[in-house]
């Protein structure tokens, strides 16, 4: 076991422990904070794998964006410092089962998948290459997912405007 493996296990432990804590804590703000640490742990694993671009995007999108929005909605809606109600035992069992099924599915996939050595030259993760890959329509290009995601975002934006727009006939 060398230093690199130790670091991997530390990051994995951080991710899993914080993930479990975030669903088991009864204080909603703490749940959000544990979620952040879990996501940061995942970003750390990406850094460990030398996927720096993915890691940074993980931090920007999840930690800096989504969880901050979650925290905002907690601030604006929840009662400060009050404990969440205890869950029924049936629910607990059901969620543990759901988690186990998801885990089993993933593990089966991982073990059945034939990982093959990629002998091709790795693409250098510089901005120009990332940009070309993002807009490429050839094999392995990301143009279609990119466009699909942008349609999703556009729909979300239009939805926000529709919700936020003031209806004149009702207020008058």
């Amino acid at each position: 076991m060398n230093g690199s493996t130790i670091i991997f296990y530390l990051l994995a432990a951080l991710t899993i422990v914080c993930g479990v804590l975030s669903v088991s804590t009864r204080q909603i703000f703490r749940a959000a904070i544990y979620l952040i640490f879990s996501l940061i742990g995942i970003a750390g694993i990406y850094f460990w794998l030398d996927y720096q671009f993915i890691a940074a995007v993980q931090v920007v999108v999840y930690v800096g964006g989504i969880v901050v929005l979650i925290i905002f909605s907690i601030f604006l809606t929840q009662q400060a410092g009050e404990l969440l109600p205890k869950q029924k035992i049936g629910r607990k069992i059901f969620s543990v089962l759901a988690v186990f099924c998801g885990f089993a599915l993933t593990m089966v996939q991982v073990y059945q998948h034939a990982f093959y050595e990629n002998d091709g030259e790795a693409v250098k993760p510089v901005v120009a290459n990332i940009g070309k890959q993002m807009l490429s329509t050839k094999q392995g290009g990301y143009a279609l997912p990119f466009e699909v995601v942008s349609i999703l975002l556009l729909a979300a934006l239009v939805g926000c405007i529709v919700i936020a727009i003031s209806k004149k006939e009702e207020t008058a």
Binding site: I33, V63, G64, I71, F72, F75
Partner: protein, 358 residues
């Protein structure tokens, strides 16, 4: 030549001769950590006395002038005072998060130091996504503020945290867009590449008007991101006592205080790297003699000189402008800075495609 990179090389050679590779790596990591902490302490001392002197001279006052020659040891005395003060935790606070928040603020500031090039060939980690890394990590810093505000169990703290969150989330956009304009011109996210692209002139000289616009946008946005006046609504003394750190005292308060100044240093270092050429000396066209004289000044002096110039500019803003209201703050971002920097980014892209820059 005793440059930083030379000293680092010598140290590395000596360590690898004496120890095996694993130990060398561990010792070097520890040394880097100690160096960063030492830099933080020094920055805290220097920037606090600088801020107090600058504010005093701008407001036609003398400033601290009792401790040491011309009051230069004032911040040392303040540090000692903060060290011996009792660190209180309020009764209704969420103790764990309350005590964690200042450390998060510090850790984020430390992580941000990684890709900064302090001198020629002297950088902790030259990653190829340096600029993206910085904008990613700096978005974590809002978490520490939200955490502190919530965990304090105090309405002023919560209000300060909310304001600061709204502010940082919105100003990150225009800061990112103005940084992108330099990335578009350079074609790389690596800070090292960005510095080397400015060998024949800093971007602020090469990039015509659009770069000036993005430089001004950048300065405004980072002033807002570091929660400094005129954008200090998060800690507005007159309305919220001290905002998110109202309940903090002693060393925990000192960590927040230090993190603020270190963040100012970091954003100014990034501004200096992107727009003012980092450690690149100042060169004028083909004046060989002048350029040689400029080359004799060590690269670290250039870097710290530019950074401290930008820090002075930000302090100058703080002591000149009155605080904005929250609606004015959001208007400035969403109605002015963001549209302008988007159009500006288009202009810069056009410029980069046509090759109009020098």
């Amino acid at each position: 030549m005793w440059s930083f990179s030379h000293i680092a090389d010598l140290l590395h050679e000596w360590l690898s001769k004496t120890f095996n590779p694993t130990f060398t790596l561990i010792i070097e990591m520890v040394l880097a950590g100690v160096a960063v902490i030492g830099l933080f302490a020094a920055l805290g001392l220097v920037l606090v006395i600088m801020e107090r002197k600058v504010s005093a001279w701008i407001q036609i006052r003398l400033g601290p002038n009792r401790v040491g020659p011309k009051g230069m040891f004032q911040s040392l005395a303040d540090t000692l005072k903060l060290l011996v003060k009792e660190g209180m935790t309020p009764d209704g606070a969420d103790k764990f998060l309350f005590n964690l928040a200042p450390f998060i603020a510090m850790i984020v500031a430390m992580l941000l130091m990684a890709p900064i090039a302090f001198a020629n060939n002297f950088q902790f980690w030259d990653m190829n996504i340096g600029v993206l890394y910085i904008s990613a990590i700096s978005s974590i810093s809002v978490i520490s503020i939200l955490m502190a505000g919530w965990a304090s169990n105090n309405k002023y703290s919560l209000m300060g945290a909310m304001r600061s969150g709204a502010q940082i989330v919105s100003y990150e956009l225009s800061a990112g867009l103005s940084v992108l304009s330099v990335v578009v011109l350079t074609g790389s996210l690596s800070l090292n590449d960005i510095i080397h692209s400015q060998e024949n002139g800093w971007w602020i000289f090469k990039g015509h008007l659009p770069i000036w616009i993005s430089f001004i946008t950048f300065i405004i946005a980072v002033t807002a991101e570091t929660n400094r006046a005129p954008f200090d609504l998060a800690e507005a003394e007159s309305e919220l006592t001290a905002g998110f750190h109202t309940e903090y005292s002693g060393m925990k308060f000192a960590l927040f205080f230090l993190a603020e100044y270190v963040n100012v240093f970091i954003v100014c270092a990034i501004g200096a790297t992107l727009f003012l050429g980092g450690w690149m000396p100042f060169h004028i066209g083909h004046l060989q003699a002048f350029n040689h004289v400029m080359d004799y000044i060590p690269s670290s002096v250039w870097f710290f000189g530019k950074t401290f110039f930008l820090i002075f500019v930000i302090m100058w803003f703080r002591w000149t402008f009155p605080r904005l209201r929250i609606d004015q703050l959001l208007n400035l971002e969403w109605k002015y800075l963001l549209p302008i920097s988007m159009i500006n980014l288009l202009l810069v892209t056009l410029m980069a495609i046509m090759g109009w820059h020098f």
